[in-house]
Every structure is written in structure tokens, then in C-alpha cells.
């Protein structure tokens, strides 16, 4: 059985490769049951490359955006099956 710590390290390593500019990698939620798969919800901070334009939003321009991803991991093979976008709310 793959321990949670190890599972998270696999995901973190993959995210470092996909999103080299990311910071603040976090585990948000976990479903680590007895099946062969575990579902992890993780989040990362990325520089906001498309900040909103306009006077109304000028003072509230964000430097970073937080992305939430749902990761399905195969525990037996210790590899990632899928990564999907999810909404924060």
C-alpha cells in the first residue's frame, strides 16, 4: 500500500514538471480508501499571466491565481492516472 506521504511526493514532482513557476503546492482533500486508486485534490499558486484590464480592477490586480486539480493515482503502480481541473468553489 502506497503511503499518503509518498503519493503526495509523486504528485508534487509531476506538478513541478508541468508547472515550473508554481508555488505553494497543497493537499486540499483526500480520498485514500482501500481501492487501488486514491483521489487527491491539490492546489498550487501560479503567476497570473492574464490579469484583468480596466480602471475598476486596477487596484485589485492579482499577481497570482490558485488552481485546484483533482488527481487520480494508481496506488499499486505508484503512478498518476489523470489530472483534471476543478473549480475552487
Amino acid at each position: 500500500m502506497l503511503p499518503l506521504n509518498q503519493a503526495l511526493n509523486i504528485v508534487k514532482k509531476q506538478f513541478n514538471e508541468i508547472y515550473p513557476g508554481q508555488t505553494d503546492f497543497r493537499l486540499e482533500e483526500v480520498d485514500f480508501d482501500s481501492s487501488n486508486y486514491c483521489n487527491l485534490t491539490v492546489s498550487i499558486l501560479l503567476p497570473d499571466l492574464n490579469p484583468p484590464i480596466g480602471i475598476g480592477t486596477f487596484s485589485h490586480a492579482k499577481k497570482y491565481i490558485r488552481l485546484y486539480k483533482k488527481v487520480i493515482l494508481n496506488k499499486a503502480e505508484a503512478n498518476i492516472e489523470s489530472i483534471k481541473n476543478i473549480d475552487a468553489n
Binding site: N5, L8, D24, R26, L27, E28, E29, V30, D31, S43, L45, G56, T57, H60, K62, Y64, R66, Y68, A88, N89
Partner: protein, 158 residues
């Protein structure tokens, strides 16, 4: 001496209720929103709250908590009703008009409840939240916030 006030956001509020219900670590982790928390984190939350005299809630937070938790049966149902009633009786409830949240610059990203929490936090001594995105925004607004998910991640994974 002024009363020190603390806001518990939905996610952390659920941990607070489940911990007081003594559902155990498995009971806490059975809920999606509190799945990474442990009993130790509940006790840490209690120690944080102990520095404040008043918990501040909003109707939106209370509704979210009730929608997510009010599915117990038997003994746990009774415990849930008793504990939440006690907490709500001892809390201050702040009402923020929905229109104030939908007109807010951050509405697109955060939604009604979280914007309400941000507006309430301007008049409170501390916001404790397990919502990473809400914490990002609260920090960017210069509000005093305890980022509970950040703490738990550091505690669990270093």
C-alpha cells in the same frame, strides 16, 4: 477591554463541530471538506479559538455547515443539534446583504459566502479559514487571517 472576535469559515467550522461531537479521527476524515485533518488539528483549533471571546458567524456560513453536516441519524443527530445550537447561541451573527457581495470585485472568483466572510473580517480580530483561495485573497487585502490548510500541510508534510 474590547471583546476579541474570531470568524470560523465553513471548512474549519465543520472541523470544530465534528471535534466537539467526538466522532473520532475517522469520523472527521469521512467528510470530504475535513478529510486531511486529524484530532490533533481539532485540538490546535480549540487552542486558537481560546484566545478569543466571541465567534462571529454569518447566515451563509451556518447554512453551508448545516447543509454539509445535518445528515446524521440516531445519537449523532442529537449531538449535532445540541452542539450547533450551543455554538450559534454563543456566537454573534453578522448579516451582509447579498447585493454587497455580488457587487464586489472578487465575486467572480470567490462567491457570495466567501465575499461575505472577507467583508466581515474587516471588523473582526481574526479569520480562521481552511479555504486556501479565500486565505490568498484575505492576505492580499491585509486582513488578519490564520491559513489553516497551510498550517495542516506544513504539519503533515513538512
Amino acid at each position: 477591554m474590547p471583546t476579541k472576535t474570531v470568524i470560523l469559515d465553513t471548512n474549519v467550522f465543520i472541523l470544530y463541530v465534528l471535534g466537539l461531537m467526538e466522532v473520532g479521527e475517522k469520523g472527521i476524515q469521512r467528510h470530504k471538506t475535513t478529510s486531511i485533518y486529524t484530532i490533533k488539528h481539532f485540538h490546535f483549533l480549540l487552542s486558537l479559538i481560546a484566545h478569543y471571546q466571541q465567534i462571529v458567524i454569518s447566515p451563509n456560513i451556518a447554512t453551508e455547515v448545516d447543509n454539509l453536516l445535518n445528515r446524521f441519524t440516531g445519537e449523532n443527530k442529537y449531538k449535532y443539534l445540541q452542539i450547533t445550537t450551543n455554538i450559534f447561541n454563543a456566537s454573534t451573527e453578522v448579516y451582509i446583504e447579498t447585493i454587497k457581495t455580488t457587487n464586489h470585485t472578487f465575486f467572480l472568483d470567490l462567491g457570495v459566502t466567501d465575499i461575505g466572510v472577507l467583508l466581515m473580517a474587516k471588523n473582526c480580530d481574526l479569520l480562521i479559514s481552511g479555504d486556501s483561495q479565500l486565505c490568498d485573497y484575505a492576505k492580499s487585502e491585509g486582513l488578519k487571517v490564520f491559513d489553516f490548510k497551510e498550517y495542516v500541510n506544513k504539519d503533515l508534510f513538512g
